[in-house]
Symmetry: C2
Subunit: 211 residues, 2 copies
């Protein structure tokens, strides 16, 4: 007779200790991000997260300084997924604004649908302590700038057109940031379909008059 609950370890021990530590940290973060997203940051207690990992609350403190740091790391990872992508965005010299915009939207949607991205968008940055908040805001601003820059390029190279770059970019971010509130990956629509629809929608909104 084997053990009823096979202990279902939360980080299989194959690596050495440092790797193991880092791995478990990641698992905590993913779980926290998912829970924060679903229930909200303040509705989520550390015990909730701990239980989901079959672990006690103090264990979390072995991996993180406090609740805020966990949230902060989630935000950081989400932002990095866009700003420090494996393959860098094509530069303005390499591609038209239209092409670059499509690529940007694709990346951003992918981010926003992921646990960390959803967490970033659902939980306001005001939950963070001032110091960390600064970094997150800086990161978001950086992403903002990416889109604005593309729209401006579009104005110049004629592949895009919109009356007001700042405002238009905000509308686009709004449309995307709202996705986690209604889209569920297990539903009828696949992520690719969603992305295509978003791209089509945005492209029409910022397309030049006759193209």
């Amino acid at each position: 007779m084997v053990k009823a609950t096979p202990k279902r370890a939360w980080g299989e021990a194959i690596q050495n200790r440092d790797e193991q530590f880092e791995l478990k940290r990641q698992v905590v973060l993913r779980t926290a991000a998912r829970t924060y997203s679903r229930r909200g940051f303040y509705e989520t207690t550390l015990v909730d997260i701990a239980e989901e990992l079959n672990v006690s609350k103090p264990t979390l403190y072995y991996y993180f300084k406090n609740k805020d740091e966990i949230l902060f790391e989630c935000h950081r990872l989400a932002i990095e997924a866009v700003t420090n992508h494996d393959t860098p965005m094509p530069s303005a010299e390499e591609a038209t604004a239209r092409v670059r915009l499509e690529e940007f939207l694709r990346r951003y949607v992918r981010m926003v649908v992921d646990d960390f991205g959803t967490c970033l968008v659902m939980t306001g940055a005001n939950a963070l302590e001032p110091e960390n908040r600064g970094e997150v805001i800086r990161g978001r601003r950086q992403i903002d700038t990416m889109l604005r820059e593309i729209l401006e390029q579009g104005l110049a190279d004629g592949t895009l057109d919109c009356p007001d770059v700042k405002v238009s970019s905000m509308f686009v971010f709004g449309a995307m940031n709202w996705i986690p509130r209604w889209y569920h990956a297990d539903g009828a629509m696949s992520l690719d379909e969603l992305t295509d629809r978003l791209i089509a929608f945005v492209m029409r909104a910022v397309a030049p008059p006759r193209a």
Copy 2:
């Protein structure tokens, strides 16, 4: 020597008691909505709200059952501002989908920029107790339906066109619900300008191929 703090009553006594009561209730709600919006529901304590009104915490309990009820009333008022507007929306027989869409967007933006609307959009409905949550969700769904119905009419009468009504409506709501996070009425752009920009943006996104 007059009193330094002239007591700055929070509901000037001119009406009779019932009116006075109702008036103060409204003042509490507005203040709460503003604070919830700015700081977030969980970051706002009842003492915060009370202090802003130069009143003690228990006074709030004289006007409301509890913290949730205050939030709920804010949400209710916001939703009603759209569903029970003074002048009803023109029906599908009275106007083209295009015209109706513009009117709808105008109303929704106006709502979302208001204290209650901002509160509705910024604080998730998950903060509410199950019972009230139901009513809020029902209200939001009703508003959802309004927009979807218009988009469908547009498909029929040819004044609008989009590949997927459900998804497109979500993008539009996203763009609008995100407004409170970046738009500030005291900034460079007036509310009317903002509304015009939004309408222009959406119209292009859901315009028929050649119009």
